[in-house]
């Protein structure tokens, strides 16, 4: 058998969820270790190999110069880079505050001390070319497992291409948008989470970002308006995880 592939996990500014979610694979994490050797994963290990990686997972947004440096290194030292989670693919919540960085810092830290060198939060994909983007806040861990397993076997990973709505129908969940009038972004959000939030009887908040391609945010906008939500509310919802243009 061929040698194992080298895997590195790099964390930029984020909540830690996408890195943690790798550990939440439990036994499957050990299955992955049959094919991958981990050279760097600072949440889980104090190894720091500064090596070349076959696959690099990068989570989080670029929000500091340190982040940018880590990202560039990860890109330079890896063959296949995966932007993992909505922070990395779309900028997520910290990317959604439309205010110049100086003002943001001032509002949070006051004038007492100006902490270091922050920059406007941007997703990984806006700074470097990535080979695969797996969105989700956090991403569906099965999806990552499948992608890594596929790659270990030399197969190009498959990507979902349908909205959350489809998964709702497959699970036979009652439509919360039509039946309860709850704000639900399911129709325009990329599926792959198995409509987990609708299982709770609540509306999708759009954490996997927009469905690429023929998505129709304008009609979603109209539906939400007809349910009584005001413009500002809808626009904010659209712009929270990804910067949807209604």
């Amino acid at each position: 058998m061929m040698g194992k592939l080298k895997l590195g996990v790099f964390e930029l500014t984020d909540c830690g969820g996408c890195a943690l979610n790798v550990l939440f694979l439990y036994e499957k994490f050990f299955d992955l270790l049959e094919f991958y050797e981990i050279g760097e994963f600072h949440m889980a290990s104090n190894l720091h190999e500064k090596d070349h990686y076959d696959v690099a997972l990068v989570t989080g947004t670029v929000s500091t110069h340190r982040d940018l440096k880590v990202l560039r290194e990860a890109r330079n030292r890896s063959n296949y880079l995966i932007a993992l989670g909505t922070c990395a693919t779309h900028g997520n919540v910290q990317g959604s505050i439309e205010m110049p960085i100086r003002e943001k810092l001032k509002a949070v830290y006051g004038d007492e001390g100006n902490p270091m060198r922050a920059i406007d939060s941007k997703p990984v994909v806006e700074h470097v070319a990535v080979d695969l983007a797996i969105p989700g806040c956090p991403y569906n861990k099965e999806e990552l497992y499948q992608a890594l397993m596929d790659m270990a076997k030399g197969i190009d990973p498959v990507r979902p291409d349908y909205p959350v709505c489809v998964e709702c129908k497959l699970n036979e969940y009652e439509c919360v948008l039509v039946k309860k009038g709850l704000p639900c972004l399911g129709p325009i959000t990329l599926g792959g989470c198995n409509a987990i939030c609708i299982k709770s009887g609540l509306g999708c908040i759009g954490c996997r970002g927009p469905l690429p391609g023929e998505v129709n945010p304008a009609s979603e906008y109209e539906i939400l308006k007809s349910k009584g939500y005001d413009d500002e509310y809808i626009v904010r919802k659209f712009k929270t995880f990804a910067r949807w243009e209604p």
């Binding site: 930029l12 830690g16 994963f41 290990s45 104090n46 830290y109 001390g113």
Partner: protein, 415 residues
Amino acid sequence: MIIELREFTRVEGNGKAEIVIENGEVKDVRLKIVEGPRFFELLTLGRHYYDVPDLEARICAICYLAHSVASVMGIERAFGVEVPGEIQLLRELGLIGELLESHALHLYLLVAPDVFRYPDAIRMATKHGELVKEGIALKAFGNRLRELIGGREIHGINVKPGGFGRYPTTEELERIERESEVLLRFAKRTVRLFASLEPYGERAGHFLATDGYLWGERLIAEGKEPFHYTERIEEHSLVYSFAKQSRYNGEPFLVGALARLLLKGEQLTPEAKRLFEEHREKLETGYVSYNNLAQAIELVYALERAGEIAKTLLDKGISSENVSVEPKEGEGIGYVEAPRGVLVHHYRIDSSGKIAYSNIITPTAMNHAMIEKSLLREAKVLYGNVDEMEMVQRLEETVRAFDPCISCSVHIVKL
């Protein structure tokens, strides 16, 4: 001269430290949180209250539910909404799941490799496979509770002001009752392991917690007379860190498992209480490293309490009814015990239900000053007596004992 502790590993988020040496003596320590700011208070300003808990969850993945629940409680208090015992018990069950998931991650996967001298749990698993497996089983159980109550393992949206989107079924509760009992054995073993370790770090002088075991109406400290955080906690910005530092009456203080046991030991479940009494003398020395032992005892507490809650709910049956929430102008503070200590969510809401002011103080920001104090003491003890590599390694262990959650710590607003 400055000795750098490069970015901490086996902690959540990005942070490092500097030890300042002058004339051959340790002079100062700076804990630098280099994780970028995430501006959560700005994110929530002007938002409709209904959406806020789901966004606040994103502050931290390890304790997302503590953030959702604290947020929901702050909102409910602002509106004067009271939820019945059933909803409270279910929230508690979720927080217990989080305690299990987080403490198990910390003790088995992040700290145990120090105890057995491995770079990580993956490499440790070859020799100590049982321990790693038991840790993973506890963590997985904790996560199942989070999924059940919170809606997802990470960042679920099921916890809402006034109740839940979905309530657990009888079968789900029965399973919790059974499994929590089975897992108890593992937790007890771990208490023995952590009780056998020598203490390190500083001895904390002040402890802080919420007045109930996993949440409260106010905070308590040694005197036990409840107070609001605004009365005794101040925050400062630092030039070298994205996290602010808090002080209690001007002094560094400790929050987290050790603080909870010392201030609220009498609220524990039977077996956890027995273990607490058995190790009380040690814990009362206040060494921050005993936070690890305290967490192990809390694993026992969490499992016993999960069983109790499941049983109570099964005996009574659950009605699965939400309380209706009508927005009105108001102010409220949610105080919750996240696994690593007190978490505060404070809001003012306008009459249309939008957030007009928000302030969040996370446990790691509260412990920030205590971590520095602890590093300073440990560095003084070690400098000149062990080589630099070992010193750096031991200092990292001191930081790790706080179970710091760095992502959490970086967004405090001032308006």
